[in-house]
Structures are given as C-alpha cells and as structure tokens.
C-alpha cells in the first residue's frame, strides 16, 4: 500500500459566497504523476491554491504527509501559472530560480554560494544555463516556463504542484518538461499538474483527477480515464474527441 502524500477532506472554497469548490475529498498517493482536468472555472487552480494555503477555504482541511501544510512547506514546490507574474520585472533567469531557495532559507537569511550553485544546476537541467543572465522578459514563453520549472526543482521538494505548465509553450519545451516530471516521479516524488489537453493525458500521466466544482473521480489513468468520466466532467459526449 502506497503512502498518502496529500489528503484533502471536505474542502469547500467560495469567492464572494459563490462556491468554486464544493466538498472535495481527495487522496493522492505518493509517487504518482497526476493530472487535474476539468472545464474552465472548474476550480482546478483554486484546488492547488487552497492546498498550498494561498486561498483560505471556508470549510475542510488539507494535510501533506499527515500534517498541515504550514508545517510541511519545505516538502512542497509550486509553479504558478506563467501569466500570474509580471515578466517585465527587473530580474534575470538565475535570480528567478534563486527564489526557489528562499523557502528553505526562511525569513531574513540571504542566499549564498550554495544556493547559487543549486540554482545553476537546476537551470542546466532544464537546458537554460546559457540564458542565466538574461532579463526574463527577453525569454520566449517556453523558456520562461523552463525557468519556472527550474525554480521548482531547486526547491528539492517531495511534492510538486504545477499550474498549467504547458500553456503557451512550444512542442520541444512541452516534451522536455514532461520528461523531467516523469523523472521526478521515478525518483519517488509526487507531481500534480493542472492540465488542459485531454489528448495527452494517457501519454503523460499515470493518475488523474476529474474536477468540476465537485470531484468527479480520481484514480489511475488506465482505470478511470474513460468516456463516462469525461462526459460527467465536461457535460458533453467525449467519445469522438478523445481517441485513446
């Protein structure tokens, strides 16, 4: 029996009294590569954000390896949506990756040569070392996403949350990213990805959660990634759209 990495109990989140997530129960076992799929407005990002304590739920609880998130921060890395930050910010690729080391450092302590070395290694891993000194607005969309991935890698976490890492990236970057994610899973890490492209789910992931305000289904891709769940989640017949 696999260990449970993430446990969500009765989680309900509302914006201005309108429920976005409704009574979510979810268990994610350790060492899976999981896609969260669902239509726009299904609460996919919100689910991640409330697990990470960025959004305050109105009910329910979350635990990471049996403890609340704020006791387990160092076990978790997070890649927000690329569009959520200002890429004109005056900073370089290396500097953005260094931000991934801040969590372990805690308040006040500054990154030193050890953190810099780890950040350079992470940049190397995503193939972005030649761009370390480049201002982030001068990077292409795919390169920016790789920098974000490097920032998560440098956190050296056990669980990785990624919010739409494939949005606006070229095909090469998409393959590079998914290969790194697969490596992470092989190394025993748990990876959770908000994903849009249903076609690639069976190819990329081994675990999937269907979400549409409520949880529709969660489990191994080979067991539950079927027309029935897709139709329940998206409300239309998906038989034709997805060929497995």
């Amino acid at each position: 029996m696999q260990k449970i990495a993430i446990r969500v109990d009765d989680l309900t989140v509302a914006y201005n009294y309108k429920p976005v997530l409704w009574d979510i129960d979810l268990e994610v076992p350790e060492s899976v590569l999981m896609a969260i799929v669902g239509p726009n407005g299904a609460g996919k990002s919100t689910l991640i954000k409330s697990i990470l304590g960025i959004i305050e739920p109105i009910a329910g609880s979350v635990s990471i390896y049996g403890k609340p998130y704020d006791k387990q921060r160092k076990l978790v890395a997070y890649v927000p949506q690329k569009g959520s930050v200002d890429w004109d910010f005056p900073t370089t690729a290396l500097d953005v990756v260094m931000m991934g080391t801040y969590g372990r450092l805690g308040w006040i302590k500054r990154p030193r040569s050890k953190e810099k070395k780890a950040s350079l290694e992470a940049l190397e891993k995503v193939g972005m070392l030649p761009f370390k000194g480049r201002q982030i607005s001068k990077l292409s969309g795919g390169q920016q996403q790789r920098v974000f991935l490097a920032r998560a890698l440098v956190q050296n976490a056990s669980i990785y949350f990624m919010d739409e890492p494939f949005q606006g990236v070229d095909a090469t970057t998409e393959i590079a990213i998914i290969n790194i994610l697969k490596e992470l899973r092989k190394a025993g890490k748990t990876v959770i990805v908000v994903h849009h492209d249903l076609q690639t789910v069976p190819e990329y992931f081994d675990w999937v959660t269907f979400l549409n305000v409520k949880k529709i289904a969660t489990g191994p891709v080979k067991d539950i990634f079927n027309d029935d769940n897709l139709t329940k989640t998206y409300g239309i017949n998906y038989k034709v759209a997805v060929n497995k």
């Binding site: 959520s84 005056p90 308040w107 201002q135």
Partner: protein
C-alpha cells in the same frame, strides 16, 4: 551648519527616503496608492497636531501614518465588494479623508499654525528654522533628524527584508506558498511609505512627495533589468534632482520643492527619449532596423529560390521585389557588410554564410525555436523577439 547646506541635506535625505519605497510601489503598480496616502494623511496630521502641537513629534508621524494605512485598508475593502474597480475605490477614499482634514483645519484655523497650502506644498526653505535642542544645545534642524531616522529605518528594513520584498513583489503566489506572508509584507511596505510621506510632507508637501516617490523609480525602470541597480539608480536620480532643484530654485527665486519636481520630470523625459533599450529613440531605431532586416531576409530568400541570372541582377531587383532605389541599396549594403552576398558583374549570389544564414532564419521563423540562432541575435534585431 550653513542654512543652504542644511536645506540641501534635508532635500537629499527626503529624496532617498522616498525613492526606496517608490521602487516597490512602481513595481507593484501601486503608484496611485502613494498619491492617495499623501492626501489622506491630512486628518491624521491635523488631529496629531491638536494633540502634540508639534509637527515633528513622533506621535504625530505615527498617527498620520496610521491614516495612510487606513486608506489602503478602505480602498481594498471597497474594491473587494466587486462593485467598483481599484482606481474608483482610490478616488472615493482619499478625497473623503482629505476633506475631513480640510474641515478640521478650517474649524480650528485660529488656534493652530497649520494651513492647507503648507500641507499641500510644504516649504523646504523654512525647514531649518525649527531646531532640535538637546539639553539646551542646538543639534540641527528637527526635520533633518526626523527624516534621517526614517531613512535609517527604511534602509534597515530594506536590507533585512530585501529577499522577501523581491519575491512577494514578483510572485505573490510563490511568496505565500513559501511562507513569506504577502499580506504582512504589503502592509509593512504601506506603513513605511506612509511614515515617509508624513515625515516628508512638511519639507516638500503632500503633492510633490508623490513625485519624489514615483519619478526616480519610473526613470530607473527604463534603464536597468536588475532590482538592486534599479534601487541604486532611483536613489541617484532622487539625490541629483534634489540638489539640482535646489540650485535652480536658488537662481530663479522659486519654490524649492517645485524646482526639484521639475528636474525629476525633465530627467524622466531625457531618459524616456534616450535610454539605450527602452527609450523612445532606441525603440524607433530598432523598429527601423527590423524593417530593413525583414527586407534583407526577403531578399536572401529570393536569391535562394532563383538560380537564373536574370533574377539576380542588381538592376532587376528593383522591379522584381518591387522596392524603392534607396531601400534596395540599404538592403544590399547590409547584406554585403555581413558577408552574406557576393556581387560579380552586377549579378548577386549568396555566399556560403548567406546560405546558412537563410536556412537558419527560415527554420527559426517556421519552428520558432531559437537555440540555433543565438549567435545571430547580437547582429540582428529581428531575432531578439
């Protein structure tokens, strides 16, 4: 100390103290909030003055700064209702608070030495007349001490929390996930901005303090892509404008704060025009170069596609690709300068380098993968995205 030097010293310290939080306000797109704070502290100042009867009292500064933070809280509360947007919320809050201050002054104008004009515009020239006496000994102008202490606190906080301020400004979500509470940092920055505005208003006034916060940061933003350098440049712009403004005011016998702000505006204009990358002239030049380079690429593709000499004759190029004389010459020159073409007997042909260049460029345009064209970015604007 000489009064002239004292005034300049106060101006410089005010400028530095404003420039530092200003950088973060600009990067957080909160420039308007500083405007709101600078006005809505008025009731805080007036009430503080009734209680302490001393414009430089630390209690007055804290009380007025609290009004600044209340402004931010009110703006966010109104915004959160979802009924109005942020700019409308700001427009609702600060005039309301400001007008309370105006009424308070008007009702008590006979008793207190404080008028709206002084609060709005300040008067740096009078700042040295209010002295700080310790045990009967004159240790300098009070406002120099007050702003000096505020500046020390600002620098101390900046050095201590630089990393936290940076990450929460760049990426709120990551900052929250890592445990650096964006709310705490946000209100910390709002508090220090409010304290600075209150400390500075007597010298430069509530309106011009906004210029000292925003203009140096906005100018520095055009010149650098490094947060630390942006901070240093902002301080330099603030200080030079403060001293330059003082001497212009001296020459013209005009308001010191007004002259300082004018210099800030002129410096921004100059940088906006002449900044190497983001400046207007640089951008126009780059666009012109890019147009030429697109033509160059079209021209190279044409050569690549045609073996027959008639298509590659210099004179025919005008008709065939339908270009003006001047443009053809510019493009030919650019291609020759980069050793991309050779001309024999008026017949143009691609060199080996030209062939490789064309292929790489084509591949880049089709696939948008730029690993292979890194070396071309230095010579050509076209590939710099």
């Amino acid at each position: 100390m000489d009064v002239q030097i004292e005034i300049q010293l106060i101006a410089v310290i005010v400028a530095i103290a404003c420039a530092i939080p200003g950088v973060f306000l600009v990067l957080r797109k909160m420039a308007l909030i500083s405007d709101a704070i600078s006005h809505s502290i008025l009731p805080g100042i007036v009430i503080g003055f009734f209680i302490t009867e001393d414009l430089n009292s630390p209690w007055l500064i804290l009380l007025a700064a609290l009004t600044g933070v209340i402004t931010v809280v009110l703006v966010e509360a109104i915004q959160k209702t979802g009924l109005v947007k942020e700019d409308t919320a700001i427009g609702l809050v600060f005039p309301a608070l400001f007008s309370i201050g105006v009424i308070l002054i008007a009702k008590n104008a006979n008793d207190v030495h404080l008028d709206v004009h002084a609060v709005l515009l300040g008067e740096l020239a009078f700042a040295p007349s209010d002295r700080l006496l310790i045990g009967g000994v004159d240790v300098g102008p009070k406002s120099l001490w007050v702003m000096g202490i505020i500046l020390m606190i600002t620098i101390g906080l900046l050095l201590t929390f630089f990393k936290e301020l940076k990450v929460s400004t760049f990426d709120v979500g990551l900052s929250a996930a890592l445990g650096f509470s964006p709310v705490v940092l946000h209100y910390g920055l709002m508090t220090i901005s409010s304290v600075t505005v209150v400390g500075a208003f007597e010298a430069v006034g509530a309106v011009l303090v906004v210029a000292l916060m925003i203009a140096p940061a906005a100018t520095a933003y055009l010149l650098t892509s490094d947060l630390k350098k942006m901070l240093v440049l902002s301080v330099i712009f603030g200080v030079t404008s403060a001293i330059g403004g003082y001497w212009i005011a001296h020459l013209l016998d005009a308001s010191i704060a007004g002259s300082m702000t004018t210099v800030l505006g002129i410096v921004f204009m100059m940088v906006y025009l002449f900044a190497p990358n983001k400046g207007l002239i640089a951008v126009l030049y780059r666009q012109k170069q890019q147009r030429t380079e697109v033509s160059l690429l079209t021209f190279l593709l044409h050569l690549n596609n045609h073996e027959e000499e008639t298509e590659r004759h210099v004179k025919h190029l005008n008709e065939h690709i339908n270009w003006q004389q001047v443009r053809s010459k510019t493009v030919l020159d650019l291609a020759q300068k980069n050793n991309l073409i050779a001309i024999n007997d008026q017949i143009v042909s691609l060199t080996q380098k030209g062939k490789e260049f064309t292929e790489l460029a084509l591949e880049y345009i089709i696939t948008n993968k730029d690993e292979n064209i890194e070396h071309m970015k230095d010579d050509f604007f076209l590939f710099r995205g």
